[in-house]
Structure formats: C-alpha cells, structure tokens
Amino acid sequence: MTVKVRADGARRSGKGRSRAALMALSGVLALSAVAACGGHDGGGARGGTTGAQGDFKQAPQSDGPLTIWVDATRLAAAKLYQKTHPTVKLNIVSYDGDADGSHYLQTKVSLFNRTRKGWPDVVFSTQNNETSWAVPAGFTAPLNKGLIAQSALSGWAHGAGDPCTVNGTLYCLRNDLAQTVLWYNDSLMKKWGYQVPATWEDYEALGKKVATEHPGYLVGSAGDNFTPEIYMWASKCGANQITGPKAVTVNTTSANCSRMATLLDTLVKNRTMSKSSVFSSDFDKNQAGKILMLPGPSWFGGALFEGTFKTPKGQVAVAPMPQWSGDPTPTVGNVGGGTWLLSAHSAHLKAATDFLTWVTTANDYQGQVAPGYPAYAPAAKVWLANQASSHYYANDIAAPLQAAAGQVWSGWGYGQFSQESIWAATVTPGMTGGKPIVSLLPAWQKAIVNYARSDGYQVKVGP
C-alpha cells in the first residue's frame, strides 16, 4: 500500500539521501540500544511513527497537556471529563468534526505528517470511514494490541467496531450507533386501524393503501443522501463490500438491490415516498406533518421528530425495521455514528487512553448526556432508560433499538469514497427528474467503481 505523501525526509540529491539514510540508521541504532536497556523512553529515539499496521512504536512519553479535538456536540463530553478529572491537563480544541465529509482532519493530519508535529492526541469524528485514510497515513494507534483490554472492548454492541477494524486490528472506538428502525406515528396508525408492517412486502402494501385512502401522507423519504444507507444497506445490497484495506467489490444490480429499488419506485410513484430530503426546508414546510412512517436511524427520534419537526409528545413510536419475508437473518442499515481516534504519535498514551475509555463508556456522559445511542452496550441501557423517562415516545423504544443495534448488516463497507455523496450526485438528480431508481442502478455502480478506483481501490465488479 503506498501513500502519496511526500515524505519529509526525502531529498532529491543523492547526497541528501545518504544523509537521510545515515540518520535513519542512527535512529534504528538508538532505538535498539533503548530496547536493550529495558525500554526506557526518551533517549533521543525518534519514535512515534507507524508504517504498516501492527508495528506500532509509541512516541517518547511526556506529561504535557492532552490535546483533544471535538466537534461542538462533543464539547460537553470533554468539559465534563475536565470537571470530573481536575488533575488531568487538557487542551480542548473545537473543530467541525469532519462533518459532511469536510476532510478537515485528513487535511490537517497530512500537513502534520509533513511537519512531523502538531497531531492531536485524541480526535472525535462524525465520519465512520476515517480509518480508511488514517491507518495508511499512520495517524491512528492500534487499540486492541495492548492499549485497551479485550474484556473492555467486548462491551461494545455486535458489529460496532466494524468501521474501526482494518485487517483484524481495531483503530478507533465507536462513540454512538445509528442503526435503522421504523419510526411511525402511533396515533395515526391507531386512528386509521393500520398494522405496523413487519415485512417489506407489508410495508409496500400499506404504502399503496395510504396512497388511496390518505393521499398526501408519507411512509418514507427517498430524497435524502441517506437513502442508500437506510434502504439499500438494510436490504443487503452489496454496493461496497470492502474486502481488503484497498479492495472493494461493487454489485448494485443484484436482486437484493433491485428488490428495494423497485419498492422505492412504486412508493415514489404513488407519492407516499417523498422525493425531498428530510432536512430540506420544503420537507419541513410541506411534508413533516404528514409522516405516517419513516424508516431511519436511531437519532431520527431526538434530532428530527423532537428537534426539527417538533412533533408533539406521545405520537412517535418505534418498531423494528421491516424485513424481506422468508429471510431468516434480520438486517438493518446504519446512518452515521461517530468514532474516536487515538493518535499513534501521542506523547501521552496513558492519559489519552483513559480519556478515550471514559468518553466512550462512562454513564456520566454516554448514559446521561450523549445525544446519540451509545455504542457501548451498558451505557446504551442507561441511555434508553433516560429516554423512557422523558415520556416523549408513544411506546417503549428500548427493545427495537437494542435489537437493531446488533443487526447492522456487516456487508456494507466503510470505504474512503462517500456513498452518500455518490448517491446524491448520481441517483438523486435522476429520481428528482422522474427516472425510476431501478434504471439508475447501473449508473450508481459505475460511479462507485470510478470513485473507488480514483481513491486507489482494486475494484471487483459484480457478485
């Protein structure tokens, strides 16, 4: 695997190269001398770099302040940690959290890699695919190779570590999950005498019924860039099966993909499936009050229904995501959920690990304060109990959310290319223009293949 970063030590002249080689040699000698002396740190060794995965060498440790990068939402976590751990010296830096794929973190790390300094110790990111570049860039420290005990790591929900795992090594900790469930309006369902659909077939049938009996009401939205993650992912559509650090299999024309695309087309055509993004102003103005059902991630409840739509208390309920009838293994999709990364260059590994463990597992934060469904299962229990005590929801949301937490289909990979923006740029405009999604599946595949190749992936097309 080659990383296109101009190495700082690389010089063009032969003389420079030999000097660099001499320095590297003396570095290696110094390192082995340190190792022979029983592994005291310091001693002039220029450690702190990881090449390929696994050969992690920790940087010389010091007791300076711990630098933590968080987004605005996670600022509360860092402040709470500071309050409960007054002896730890913290340097809290607020940044955009790489939201909307801003690549801020990647850009900064590539600059820090050139200047060989400046890396934060711990970073929160709203993106699940950070390891796809951060591991080859040597930025992230392996967590399950001695830093965090396996017993502690087993507390995370099944599959929560998938985005963080490269070749069996864990490179980040999942902050929250974004498993998909079926949100629905309990009052309307009862009033109209409808059954909450358990299968996609029932869901489609109900959509057709709503189209004739209550036109204008919605059973979902296909106009969002989360559409592939909510529907195609749940339907086990293999749009991006990451098979190696830089290998991907793309197959968007399989039966698993086309069955869901056909369902979406039927409901888009009868207008029970919105063509607008749930975050757009026209959805908020014209359609938010007309939601009967809305498949979506766990955070839709707080962020969308309670926050944006201001749906009154006691109306919104949660059911498990529908499944295809006859499918013995229930699967759901996933939309987001942040991660915490620990820098391989950190000079404060112990303090950084302590913070990392606290912020992802502590009930004080994850159970009581965190806005999203905690990826750490014991904290999730407390979080769910907290949600129940608010009495906002019309039913008990704990069981469906807990079940879905372990059912996220693991065949959907976390590649460097953004599935959301590829879908948004290739499928959404066509759908808005009236083309069926089924007819756009080959174009979707072509775009994924192109983007994956330009990110350096070996691409296999088809099953």
Binding site: T2, V3, K4, V5, R6, A7, A10, R11, R12, D100, H103, Q106, T107, S110, W133, A137, G223, D224, N225, K275, S276, S277, F279, S280, S281, D282, K285, N286, Q416, S418, E420, S421, A424, A425, T428, P429, T432, G433, N450, R453, S454, D455, G456
Partner: protein
Amino acid sequence: MSILTIRGGRAGTHAARRRWWPGRAGHGFVAPYVVLLIAFGVVPTGYAIDFAFTDASGRFAGLSNFTAAAADFRFASAAAHVALYLLFWLVSLVVLVVGLALLLHNLAARGVGKALRFLYYLPGALAGAASVMVWLFMLDPTVSPAGFLLRALGLDTFGQVIAPGHLPFVLTAIAFWTGAGGWIVVMYGALNNISPELMEAARIDGAGPWQIARRVQIPLLRKWIVYMVILAFAVGAQLFVEPQLLSQASNGVAGRDYSLNQLSYDFAFQNNDLGTAAAVSVVLLVVTLAVAVVFVVKSGFFDAG
C-alpha cells in the same frame, strides 16, 4: 568644516544618487507590492509547478501527473462544465455590463445615476461566500422571496432548481450578480472619459443614442471590454466557491467535483495526491495565460492611444 560645506556635500550626494537611480521614490512605493507579489504570487506558483512535475517522493515525474489528471474520470466533464459556464458568463457579462453601463450613462444626466451606481456596486462588496449564501436562499422555492418566479418555471423544490442541467444558468446568475456591479462602475468611468465634444459632434451629425453607442462609445470602450474579459476569464476558469457551496447546501446533489478547481481540491485533500492537484492548477494557469495573450495581441491592448 563649516555647516555650509556639509550641506553642500549632502546636496551633492542627493544629486549623485538621483543620477544613478532615477525614479527611486517610485520604486520605493512599488517595492512592498513587488515583495508581496513574489512571496504570495510568484513563489507559490513556482511551488505548484514544482509539485506538478514531481511524484509523491519528490522525484521528477515528467508529465505523469498531467496524464493522471487527464485520465481521471472526472476531468473531461469538469473541463466541459467550466467551458460551458465560461461561455454563458462571458457573453452575459459583455452584453449586460456594457448595456447597463451605457444605460446608466444616459440616465446620469437625469440624476438617478448615482443611486443606481451604488446599487450595482453593492452585491460586489459582499464577500464571495456570503453572497453565495444569499443565493442559496434565493434558489430555494420554499423560502425565496422570488419563490413565485421559480414555481412559475415549474420548480417546486431546491433539488429541482439545482438539477445538473440548470447549473450553468444558476452559476452564471450568481457570478453575474456578485461580480458584474464592479465592472459596470468601471465601464461607467470609461464612458465618462469619452470627450463630450465627440458625442456632441456625433449628435450634430444626426446620430441617435443607439448609433452613438454602436459607432462611438463601444469602439472606445473596446480596451476596457478586453480587460474585463481577460480578468473575468481568469476568475471564471477558477470557478470554485459557487459550486462548492451549492454542493454542500444540497448535501452533494450538485456534485462535489463540478469544476476543475474543485477537482484539484479533491485530488489534494480527498486523495492526498498533491502532484495531480498541482497539475490541474498548472493546466488552468497555462490556458488562462494563453487566452490572455491571444486577447492582448488581437486587441492591441498595449498599443498607445
């Protein structure tokens, strides 16, 4: 030594200095600009050219970065998008700016000119990103004050407004609104430089406003128009802020790699490939320079008179 001789000596050296370095005051004034130009213009350009011809480990790579950029699946479409946009933007700029400036010049006599000049200039005074933000509201039929116009065109949602086929118009409208006001003021100034005797003579010869504009004013504005086209071409070829913000506002529906500059940005910060990113910007530089040279030579821009 008396004071007089010292004075005499100083005056002597002054004169001597003036002899071997004439116009040094002018050079002094220009020097800070030259230093800044070298530091923030020439050196980065040289650095980018260096990047464009070297590989990831800093070795000379020939044209491989250029071929990599041209072979990328996004390059041809991005180049086509920019070319189409430039066509729309330059034509609308020349026709509308010259037209509005002539109109303004005619109105000036009636006293409303000052207010209009201020109005035209105002959008240009807004920072680039801020004025695009204004447009994001304007283009969303649900919140736009001009929503009725958009709906009359059959566009009910933001997604429909920014459909890929509409982008050249949308981007031209944004660019025109943010950039044209300044040029109208410049053209107005140029029109004021045309001697009143000349206009008077044309009028006595029986020319109407249209003939004066066509036969007297526009030919005399030619150099200013060429100047505007050269600068607008350079700015337009570097199209970035408008599509980038549209892309973010639409959650990616307006593609992230619509223009060549966005593609270059993607190469640098998405693919971590600075060489290819630099190659794209060098291509833009070469094309812009070539177009400028053609315009300058054909129009006799630097000829006296």
